[in-house]
């Protein structure tokens, strides 16, 4: 609560500093985004920064995904999927329902434009890292899974324009859980269906760890 108040003050003074000058560098949409990130909406959207931080890096626990520099198309699409129920999540569904179309686009653009410094990552056993790299870069014929990077790009950098999310630098724990979500049908994706079903638990951990450590290029 205290953190929120401080953040609110910081944001408010930032905005106040802007209103005095005819500086067009912050559009109305950005102002709206900053407000929602800091304060949420009156329609049930909790402030994004509460879990995802102002910089999008969250708290490093992996419970909440890193959002900074993520594809804006992907972020907006996922918010819409939360709102419609196509993507099941008890926490995010009421939040997404509390945002209208413009607000969804605005917060998506906000986080897409950020570039946070990655948290230091824990060491990963070499065998697991090699296995993760193998599946990520080449795939596994025995379980008919193509290389993750076929869609998610080199080092898992994603394909922003097509809405393919980056995995490089994303929290390992979050990636593992999401594959479970695909497997159990809480998230529906035609492209993720087979990989989510065919990878065993060990391989899921391996690719998740591999991607957390993969470097990704600076956000443009």
């Amino acid at each position: 609560m205290f953190v929120l108040v401080v953040a609110g003050i910081i944001v408010a003074s930032y905005l106040a500093a802007q209103t005095g000058t005819p500086n067009k560098s912050i559009s109305n949409k950005s102002q709206m985004a900053v407000r929602i990130v800091a304060e949420g909406t009156t329609r049930g959207a909790v402030a994004c920064a509460r879990c995802h931080g102002f910089d999008g890096a969250s708290d490093g626990s992996g419970a909440f995904p890193r959002l900074d520099g993520q594809s804006p198309q992907y972020l907006a699409e996922q918010l819409r999927h939360f709102a419609s129920g196509a993507r099941q999540n008890a926490l995010m569904q009421p939040i997404a329902k509390g945002l209208n179309d413009d607000e969804i686009d605005a917060v998506a653009q906000y986080y897409a434009s950020l570039h946070a410094v990655p948290f230091p990552s824990r060491p990963v056993p070499a065998q697991l890292r090699d296995r993760g790299k193998q599946v990520a870069e080449v795939g596994d014929l025995s379980v008919r899974v193509q290389a993750c990077e076929s869609c998610h790009g080199p080092n898992g950098e994603g394909e922003p324009i097509s809405g393919v999310p980056y995995l490089g630098g994303q929290y390992s724990h979050y990636i593992s859980v999401q594959i479970q979500m695909f497997r159990q049908g809480y998230r529906k994706s035609q492209q993720m269906f087979v990989p989510a079903h065919n990878l065993n638990e060990q391989d899921v951990l391996a690719v998740a760890d591999y991607f957390e450590q993969a470097s990704r290029p600076a956000v443009k």
Binding site: L141, Q146, C151, F193, V194
Partner: protein, 587 residues
């Protein structure tokens, strides 16, 4: 001295779609089967994975998946009075090689033929009389009907997971599909692909002109699909790198994705790659095959004895193998005697580049190999030819299979072919150009044939295949008529520039058209005009079966693979239920 190996039940020459499926069926029946593939082994992982597979220079320009012309080429001439010369580069058609064959790098356009195609001679002569046929044309009936093949079309389509919407279910026209298709017994296994923007614009114009547009049947899977063999395919991501490339996503139906894993698990089957089959060996009577001879990658020759030989090496190679092995009488166009090499045909392709305005953004790079909206109103004999003076027709397809940066540079006529003005034209037109693809019938003609070249030989010292082919004037007239009709649709779409580009002669090997080479080992009821009987069994050597597009007496408007699939399963059935019970001539 060639090493003689232990006898097996079946030797399969060429492990593509036909070889894989037949091998699987026979190995599952308990037979010992050896599959001999001249090319390399290759699999979805690692060989087809991105980013390496998206190498346009390697695969599209340098034909990375195709036969190596420095070791085995083919010679070509338009007319038998000319001297044929070797093709040093593949352009017009691209014979594949390697495990999975062309099934790896095809687009996945999965069509059936029309009922009329299988009784083409009877049908055309009945509807129009013999007078409509130019004197040199040689159309024939297949000796097997569409209705007999229908269950086998169905089986092949379910193996591949073909994506489409039925238009004719057991004789009843249903909406959403192709009302002009031959009747099918059940719905496609998967829903159609997404429609591209260019296809949607084409659809609107085609409807306004009274045609019947539908989405092309596709073997690029549209949803996760588990086929009857228990193999799961993934949905296509419309990456635009389909033809000439392997699929990294297990989305394109290829032997690797739909059957090979099951075949490879069966201990009755043994795969030998980099095994160049030199000939099918015959006994002293010349009427029985004793097996095959092949050379491995080290240059060692082997004799593989087998009770049954299946020749499934791709149409052109099949005909060559028969000629090299002395199976069947070679065709002589001047005397019109003999059968092997007779009725060689192709696919009469034409295009209509259509430049829409700069405000129309097509994003054609988002494509599957079989994406596209198509009309069947001008295919084969779907329209009345009474006053037209030619037979045959084309389907008209609008969509893209990709807009890859090296290959796709559409520019209007009159644009300089290089330099600043060319670059500016490419920038102006790249994202605003749709290219209609017309795929047309290819009518067999007396002079078009295959035989062995008298001069040029391959790296193993064997004569190359010689192709003698030109477009019959009938097909040129047909192309002009249908291409003109397609251009009308383009104009109806509001195009700023429409380039009506019908196919004209002479046929040249220097520009890409299609790898739908058909005929030369034709199927039929009459041994004097066919090489195999209705079960794809050699008339001359009953323990040799030949299954490929070489069986087609003439080519229809459609891509041959779907029909080949039907023939494959039809032959598998004949082998299992008839031949193996009582080896010998089935007809």
């Amino acid at each position: 001295m060639p090493q003689k190996l232990k006898e097996v039940d079946v030797a399969v020459i060429g492990v593509g779609f036909a070889g894989s499926i037949l091998a699987k069926e026979l190995a599952a029946s308990g037979l010992k089967v050896v599959g001999l593939e001249r090319g390399d082994s290759r699999h979805s992982v690692p060989d087809f994975q991105a980013p390496a597979i998206h190498d346009e220079l390697k695969y599209s320009i340098r034909k990375g998946m195709m036969q190596d012309v420095t070791r085995e080429a083919m010679t070509f001439r338009n007319h038998h009075r000319e001297v044929a010369l070797p093709m040093r580069q593949w352009e017009a058609f691209l014979p594949g090689t390697g495990l999975g064959g062309c099934g790896v790098h095809w687009n996945g356009q999965a069509w059936r033929y029309q009922e009329a195609d299988f009784i083409y001679k009877t049908h055309i002569e009945k509807r129009y009389g013999k007078k409509i046929l130019d004197p040199d044309l040689r159309i024939q009936d297949w000796g097997v009907t569409y209705q007999e093949l229908e269950p086998y079309y169905d089986r092949f389509e379910h193996l591949l997971g073909v994506c489409g919407k039925a238009g004719n279910l057991n004789g009843k026209i249903v909406s959403g599909g192709n009302p002009l298709e031959a009747p099918r017994s059940r719905e496609y296994p998967n829903p159609p692909m997404k429609e591209q923007y260019s296809g949607a614009l084409f659809r609107k114009a085609a409807l306004e002109l009274g045609y019947h547009p539908f989405l092309q049947p596709s073997a690029n899977t549209t949803r996760p699909y588990t086929n009857p063999e228990g193999l799961t395919l993934n949905p296509c991501v419309y990456c635009g790198f389909c033809e000439r490339y392997g699929c990294e996503h297990f989305a394109k139906a290829s032997p690797q994705t739909v059957i090979l894993p099951v075949l490879m698990k069966n201990p009755n089957f043994e795969l030998r790659t980099e095994s160049q089959v030199l000939r099918i060996n015959l006994d002293c009577t010349g009427k029985k095959a004793t097996g095959v001879s092949y050379m491995d990658a080290q240059g060692r020759e082997f004799e593989q004895p087998a009770s049954l030989v299946l020749l499934t090496a791709f149409a052109l190679n099949d005909v060559r193998m028969l000629l090299l092995s002395g199976i069947g009488k070679p065709y002589d166009p001047t005397t019109e005697t003999g059968v092997v090499g007779r009725n060689y045909a192709y696919q009469t392709q034409s295009y209509v580049p259509t430049f829409l305005g700069e405000d129309v953004h097509l994003n054609s790079y988002m494509a599957g190999g079989a994406s596209g909206t198509v009309i069947d109103d001008f295919s084969v004999d779907n329209f009345d030819h009474s006053s037209l003076g030619f037979i045959g027709g084309c389907y008209v397809l609008c969509g893209s299979t990709g807009a890859r940066p090296v290959e796709f540079h559409p520019t209007p006529p009159g644009t300089p072919r290089w330099g600043r003005k060319w670059k500016a034209a490419v920038r102006r037109h790249y994202n605003h150009t749709a290219i209609f693809n017309l795929s047309g019938t290819s009518t067999s003609m007396r002079g078009n044939h295959l035989d062995l070249d008298p001069t040029y030989r391959d790296a193993w010292g064997l004569p190359l295949l010689r192709i003698t082919f030109d477009f019959p004037d009938n097909d040129v007239r047909m192309s002009r008529f249908v291409t003109h009709k397609a251009s009308e649709i383009a104009r109806r779409m509001g195009a700023k520039i429409v380039v009506d580009s019908p196919r004209t002669g002479p046929f040249t090997t220097t520009s890409y058209q299609s790898t739908h080479n058909t005929g030369g080992a034709v199927i039929g009821a009459d041994p004097s005009t066919s090489v195999v009987n209705r079960y794809c069994q050699s008339w001359d050597v009953p323990n040799v079966f030949v299954v490929g597009a070489c069986n087609y007496p003439q080519n229809s408007s459609y891509n041959p693979t779907g029909t080949l699939g039907a023939l494959i399963y039809w032959t598998a059935d004949a082998l299992k239920t008839r031949y193996l019970k009582r080896p010998g001539p089935l007809v």
